[in-house]
Every structure is written in C-alpha cells, then in structure tokens.
C-alpha cells in the first residue's frame, strides 16, 4: 500500500488501523464501491465504508425515498440491503479485489442482532473495520433509541466490540441534546473511533398534493446544508474524547476536509457529495497532497485539531 501521494505524508491512524490518507467515503453514498470504479481510482482513497448491512435482507422503504432540499437532500432508504450472508458471499468477494480498506457499516433492531452480525463478520477476509450505525433515523425500532441514549449506545458498542476482530468505529446521531455524552459513553465501552454525524431528521412536504415528499414521512437530511452542525459536533466531540474522530456531513472539497481536521477530525467521510461529483473523494486526496506540499507541512496530521481560537 502506497502510504504517500507524491511523496507527501497523508497517513492517519484509526486505532490499530493505518490509513494512507484521511479521506473515506460515507456509508450509503458509495454503494459497494464498485459503482464508482468508472470515476475513481479506488485504491487512492483512505478507506471506503459500505452501505449499512443488517442480519437479514431488507427491502427498504417504498418510494419516494429521496427528495432534494435547499443545499441538501432527505433520504428514507429504509436500510435496503442484501443481509449479512449475501454481503459476505457476493459483495465482499468483489470488494476484496479493490485495494482499499473496507469498513462495513452494520445495524440492528436489537442488541442480539448487532452481536450476531458482528460475530458473523468476525474473521471475514478483507474487512478492515466495522462502523456501527446506532443512529439511523429511518427504522422505527433500534436505530434511534440506541443512538440517543448513552447507556444503550454503550451496550451496543460493547456487544459489537466483544464480537469483532477488527477496529470498530461507532457512528453517532446528531439528533441529541449533547453528543459528547454519547461519544464518551461509547469511548468508555471500548470503541476504537467515533464517526459523526449521521443525518439530521427532517421532513419535506409537497404543498400541492399536501403529502409528505417521502413515503416514510420523515427522512435524514444530508449535504452542504448540515455542514455547520457537523463541524460543530466534531469540534465538541474531539474535545470530549481521546478517540480518533471521523468527521462526516456536507464534506465535498479539500477545503471542507481541512476545516473538519482543524476542528479535530482525524479522518473524514464524503457522503452526498459523491452523488454530485463522483470524483469528490479522489479529488480531496489530491487536494490534501497539494496542500501539505505547498504549506510545507510535515504531514497532514499537523492539521488535526489545529483550530486557532480568537
């Protein structure tokens, strides 16, 4: 694995895992990576996080599932996925051929489901890490409750950690009063990293039909609109925990990545921007390399938490 781009040091660590650069792709926005092969040299990315996987296959929510909002979008995919077995037999097969660390995003409706899916993934070749989705707002059971209650968040973290053979990253919900409380709870429970934020819960209405724009009524808000909230939460969490913090939310450009790193992120995930510019992630890697070179930094790690307070 090439650890440097053009001789520039972009490496960062997430627990025991070394990434060649801090640019990851966000779950649910990058498919199973192969969709982006026409556009991106996947091996140049820091890591990819695949679409959320549950124990059993899910059909997901009925249409419409997405709607655009001002500088953002709402989605209520409802966690459509092939289930862990087919994920391992079909998707991992092709993912292994891509020379990039793969994080598997997992979710469950019950503690047992989290435990089972983690055990099932344990030891599967080619999985670099697990991202535990405790925050998805779309499924009524499970998701919301786990991510908004520090105790439940801790219990899930522990269950997954105990059954995993790779570093685990817990993905936090922004729909809480104090995200640092949840972050500290999952840190204490053994998480190797936290990623944030998942989507903000939102609603869109079509005034003509007087109906919700999404069949599921509510959905998750993502994109540039939420960036200020994500950046604030990353800043708060980075000060509250000593784990690596992975910044997510409205990131599209190199400048966005730099801002999240200044706020305290060790790495970032690019989400909705992949839809607009499929090359966003690779362009950010290139941009960071350029930045480190022109600013003559020893490494990109110098940016982490480098925010200068007034």
């Amino acid at each position: 694995m090439a650890s440097e781009v053009n001789g520039v040091d972009l490496r960062v660590s997430i627990g025991s895992l070394k990434l060649k650069n801090p640019v990851m792709t966000a779950s649910g926005t990058f498919g199973y990576a192969r969709e982006f092969e026409p556009y991106v040299n996947l091996h140049r990315l820091g890591a990819v996080v695949v679409k959320g996987i549950s124990l059993e296959p899910r059909f997901g929510n009925p249409p419409p599932r997405i709607v655009e909002t001002s500088c953002g979008m709402l989605n209520a995919i409802g966690l459509e996925n092939v289930g862990v077995e087919r994920f391992i037999s079909e998707k991992m097969e092709t993912l292994r051929q891509v020379n990039v660390p793969v994080f598997v995003n997992i979710l469950g409706d019950t503690l047992d489901e989290y435990r089972e899916i983690a055990s099932r993934l344990a030891g599967v070749e080619g999985i670099a890490g697990i991202e535990v989705n405790i925050s998805c707002p779309n499924v009524k059971k499970g998701g919301v409750a786990f991510g908004t209650d520090p105790e439940m968040a801790a219990v899930v973290t522990k269950a997954v950690k105990e059954n995993s053979t790779v570093p685990i990253m817990v993905k936090l919900s922004p729909n809480v009063t104090d995200i640092t409380v949840i972050a500290r709870a999952v840190e204490d429970a053994g998480a190797d990293a936290v990623s944030l934020i998942n989507t903000l819960i939102g609603l869109a209405i079509d005034h003509r039909s007087r109906k919700p724009a999404l069949a599921n009524v509510i959905g998750g808000l993502s994109g540039p609109a939420i960036k200020p909230v994500a950046l604030r939460m990353v800043y708060q969490v980075a000060q509250a925990v000593s784990l690596p913090v992975i910044g997510v939310g409205g990131i599209e450009t190199t400048e966005d990545v730099l801002e999240f790193m200044l706020a305290g992120a060790t790495a970032v995930q690019i989400g909705t921007a992949n839809f607009v510019n499929p090359r966003a992630s690779e362009e950010a890697v290139e941009g960071l390399a350029h930045y480190v070179a022109t600013e003559r930094l020893g490494s990109i790690r110098e940016m982490i938490g480098g925010l200068v307070l007034p």
Binding site: F59, P63, E68, C71, M73
Partner: protein, 262 residues
C-alpha cells in the same frame, strides 16, 4: 460498461416551445458508447442549490461525437438548464443505465408521450440501422403540434412513419397515444417500447398483457446518483421487492414491475 464524468460543451440549443428545449452536447466519449434507453445525469448549475444532478434520456447521438437531450422545464433545475447559452459547458455523467433490448424478428412499435419521446428517437434510429428490413411503427403524442412536429420530422428523416396524437388535435389523432396504439394492426409477436407519463405506460402495459405482446418500459423516478449507489430510485417489482431504475433500468420488461390497476 464505460461511464464518464465530463465537461461537455453545448453546441446547439433548439427551443421547440416556450418550455421545451433540446441541447446538443459535444462528447465523443459518451456519444460513441451510448445505447438507446440510456441516460445522463447533468448538473444544472454551478452552485450548491440545486444540489443534485438531473437525469435526462439520451435522445439522439450523431457521428459518435454529439448527443442530444430533449427536456421540458418543470422546476428549478430544468429552468436553469433552459437558460444556458451555446458554448457553455455542462458537467455530465453517463451513459448510465441499461438500454432497450431489440429483436429484429419481432414487429417493433415505439410508443412515446411527452418528453418520453426523447429516448425513442435514438431507439428508432438504431432500429432502422440494425433491422433495416423491419421498420418499427411509431406512435407519439404530446400536448400540441408546436412541440410534437419537430420530433415527428426527426422520425421522418430516419425514414419512419409516425402516427401522431395531440391533446388538442392540432396534429394527428385528437386524443391519447393509447387510442392510436389500440387501432394499429399489430402482429402477435409485437414488442412495444414505451416511454412517457406513468399512467400512459401503465395503460400500455395492461394492453400488452391482454394481447400477449412483449413490452419494455422506461421508468422515471427521482434519482440522486444515477449509478446504483444511493438506492433512491426504486420501482416496485413483484413480491414486495424493488428494482433500481438507474442500474436495473431505466428500461424494464413491463411484466417484471408491479402496476397498480387503475
């Protein structure tokens, strides 16, 4: 299948009606590999609002160099696009999705309504070339002559006979394309290629099912990515499951889909 993300130059703008525009875009990469039924995703502005790309069928290609899209202004994205000037560049992803599958042995019939005619032009052209012995029938309908005539002319130029229909009777049949379709003398092995408003496609599907014709439909849904990544663009299929319009489609065998009986 090759796909590209390209800055393509607008080399021609045609306005068929106040709200119907055709753009000719310069992109040898896309034009040379595109197949009828495929589409592109286009950024309609440079800012972050509108945020997402908009999907448009590839409506024709020429000389493996240019391709066209034909669209109607229905919202902010298409409005922005309609304000573009010749010489400007648009960011385009494509070609995306599966295309139509054609069988020269069958009696082929293209049925299009409104902007659904766009991909059928490309299909008609390809059919005339690949099945020279077997000209497809063409039934297309629109609101009025003004917007339908240029498209009818394009079909005529390829040498295809068109059965037009308009809502106001200003060109061809006064009424629905489905009326026209039903009156055609179709062989038992007919395959209907249909693209248009959902109710029209549903009607054609049920008609084909009744008659035992094969039927391919091109489905429109909201799309965020166009490449199978967001899972937003679903269409219901049998057994409560969903297919993805962008990657499994947009062209489907109509029998695979779940149609609401109206």
């Amino acid at each position: 299948m090759p796909q590209f993300q390209k800055k393509t130059q607008i080399i021609r703008i045609e306005r068929f009606a106040s709200d119907i525009v055709r753009l000719t875009l310069d992109s040898p990469d896309i034009a040379s590999v595109a197949r009828p039924g495929q589409f592109v995703m286009i950024r309609t502005g440079n800012g972050k609002d509108p945020l997402l790309r908009r999907p448009f069928s590839i409506s024709q290609t020429s000389n493996q160099k240019h391709f066209q899209i034909l669209f109607k202004v229905v919202g902010r994205g298409t409005l922005l696009l309609s304000h573009c000037r010749e010489g400007e560049f648009l960011s385009v992803l494509g070609p995306l999705g599966s295309g139509f599958t054609v069988d020269c042995q069958r009696m082929n019939c293209l049925v299009g309504g409104g902007m659904g005619i766009a991909p059928l032009l490309f299909l008609g052209k390809t059919l005339s070339r690949t099945c020279p012995e077997n000209s497809p029938l063409v039934v297309v309908g629109s609101r009025t002559k003004e917007e339908l005539e240029p498209l009818v002319n394009d079909f005529n130029e390829i040498g295809l006979t068109v059965h037009p229909a308009t809502d106001d009777g200003s060109l061809g049949h006064h009424g629905l394309v489905t009326d026209v379709l039903k009156k055609l003398d179709l062989r038992g092995d007919s395959e209907i290629f249909v693209c248009g408003p959902h109710p029209m496609m549903a009607a054609v599907h049920f008609f084909c099912e009744e008659r035992g014709y094969a039927c391919q439909v091109s489905m429109e849904t909201s799309m965020a990515c166009g490449m199978g990544a967001c899972l937003g663009c679903i269409v219901p299929v049998k057994n409560g499951a969903y297919a993805h319009a962008c990657s499994d489609g947009p062209v489907f065998d109509s029998k695979e889909l779940l149609w609401q009986v109206r």
